[in-house]
């Protein structure tokens, strides 16, 4: 996977490049809007990480030019501006996602994976949450590369949750999604599945959180 990193702060750029390289990406760096525009004339990238406040040509202009040429390369904005109006404006310009500085590399890589998956049309069908991944083709869950063994009901529950990572799923919706397997699922039974899943997800970084009154949510929780 080849990435273009457009960031005028050379120090930040080099550290990000090193980090992304350890994750197996090949990264080219551009330190100004002009550099980025020149590179984009000749090169093709799988994704672009774009800072907005650049010397000379601004990030917004680079993005606009790219989209005018009908180039659909996914663009992830990384910027120190993060008010909601800024975010909306930039997504309107054709950015695919937005991440405010400073960000954690796990967050960046997760967003990047999701962008690449979308742009490649499910070529990379893997959904991740912390160390937990789910291959939606093979329907297999794994933690840090190790396959996770789950009962069909646990699998069904976790599948619903991982598709909605970061959002709550009400107990009712979760129970409904199990109805195809069983006639009905009692709330008590659901609690037991969740309890078992929590044990199996220990140390993966992914956790099933109970939000009282709202339901369950699968999310990445950094070690406290």
């Amino acid at each position: 996977m080849k990435l273009l990193l457009v960031e005028d702060n050379r120090e930040l750029s080099s550290w990000l490049a090193r980090l992304l390289q350890t994750s197996g990406y090949s990264v080219e760096q551009a330190f100004s809007g002009e550099d980025a525009a020149t590179l984009l004339l000749t090169e093709n990238y799988d994704a672009i990480l774009l800072d907005l406040t650049l010397p000379g040509i601004k990030g917004q202009a680079v993005l606009k030019n790219l989209r005018r040429k009908n180039d659909k390369t996914p663009v992830l904005i990384i910027s120190a501006l993060d008010s909601l109006p800024d975010i909306i404006e930039n997504l309107d310009l054709g950015a695919d996602d937005y991440l405010a500085k400073p960000f954690d590399i796990h967050e960046l890589e997760a967003r990047l994976r999701s962008l690449l998956r979308r742009s490649s049309g499910q070529l990379n069908p893997v959904i991740s949450c912390g160390g937990l991944s789910y291959n939606s083709n093979s329907k297999i869950f794994s933690i840090d590369g190790q396959d996770l063994s789950l009962t069909p009901r646990e699998h069904a529950v976790l599948e619903v949750l991982i598709h909605k990572t970061g959002s709550t799923v009400s107990k009712k919706n979760l129970a409904d999604s199990l109805c195809t397997l069983d006639d009905s699922v009692s709330p008590k039974a659901l609690e037991i599945y969740i309890l078992r899943l929590r044990k199996k997800l220990e140390n993966s970084g992914a956790q099933i959180i109970t939000l009282r009154g709202l339901g369950y949510m699968l999310t990445y929780v950094a070690a406290g």
Partner: protein, 467 residues
Amino acid sequence: MSRPVKSLKWRLGLWVFLPTFVISFIDLAVTYRSTDKIATLVQEQLLKGSARIIAEQLLSVDGGFEISVPPAAFELFANKYKDHVFYSVRSKDGKLIAGDAELPAYPGQLPVEQEEYFLSSMRGEEVRVISYVHSLPDKSQNDFAVTQVAQTLHGHAAFRNDLFFLTIREHLILLSIVIFGLVIAFRWTLSPLDQFGKKLLKRTPGSLETLEEKSEPIELHPLIFAINDYVSRLDQALSSYEQFVANTAHQLRTSFAIITSQLNFASRHKDLDRDQKDILNAIQKSVSRGTRVINQLLILAAVERSRQQQNPAALIQVSCVARDVIEALAPVAQQKNIDLGIDELDESLTVAAPQHLMHELISNLVDNAIQHSGDASIVTVMLRRRDNAAVLSVIDNGPGIPAAEREKVFERFYRLDESRVNSSGLGLAIVKEICNSLQAKVELRVPENGVGLQVDVVFSLPDYDRG
């Protein structure tokens, strides 16, 4: 400079009314004199007529005089004021021919066919006297008589006073027309001033909108110009301040981003021992806290800015925002083993507010509860309707805030417990700022079960949603 009369109305009124009053007073004094003169003239005409009638009746008989005074001579004076009339006819040598001997003679010399008027007194009363010198009917040379007629001054005074009171009445009518006119004029001319004041009062605090000159009276233009000038200078100052804040924030964020990526890189190193991992985690936490403070400062600046924008916000569903906030903060709550959830979330309640401000508001409230209630505590979000308001409550069962401190916690950088490193002291200040900008009320209280802290934010509902 202090002025004794603060009100423009009173000042203008005094300057119109006082001169009018003084002129009126002088005019009355002059009028009094002229009415007195008119009354005197009238009395003199009567005295003259009477004196002539009497004089014509004087006959010279055998070296002596004979006179029969006709009643007509006194009927002239008939009035209701009980005036007394006296007369005397004397010969050239001062001998009384007829009439009242008490009537004093004119002290001076008069040519023939001349009369003179003077004031004298008669039986203790003041009288006006005519002294008329006339020749005798037989036209004998060098012989003449003096006829005098006197009248008390009752009728004269009454006539003068009647005339004078008429004038006073006219003046009073005129003065009341002036006062009435002034009051109406003040109401009407000064009403734009009142309206202008009300318009200024209605402006939201910190509004940098310029005022429209066109619709206001010309007299207000210098004031409007001065206000607009002041506002534009304020705007420039604020803009450069905002630019400074934005630049600083950008620089700090970039630095923190570098540190974060360096830390990320370091933690990926394979041969880290436990201590090294702990140290890296600790640094990571410090960086996150620093980031949080920067973000909160930026939010504060943004809230202040958004107060200056006047366009009304769209209606948003508060329950949706609350749900988003809870989901976003769930990992933080989970780290501290906090039971985060909702009790009642009325989905029908909508409030006019910018989405991001509402998000920041609820986020700061919930985050504050998570940070301050301690590990394994319970944090609950509620949204209910109370009368014509939507009440958002965030309740925790932590240590709470003593009543004496409740006002202070809204101050920037105020910390209840100085030893607590996690708190920036900005969370509740942001809450207060946002509430001010949304015209919502924020109240701190002890929850119903008596433990912890309950923060209520009371939003007024849009008109159509009122019961």
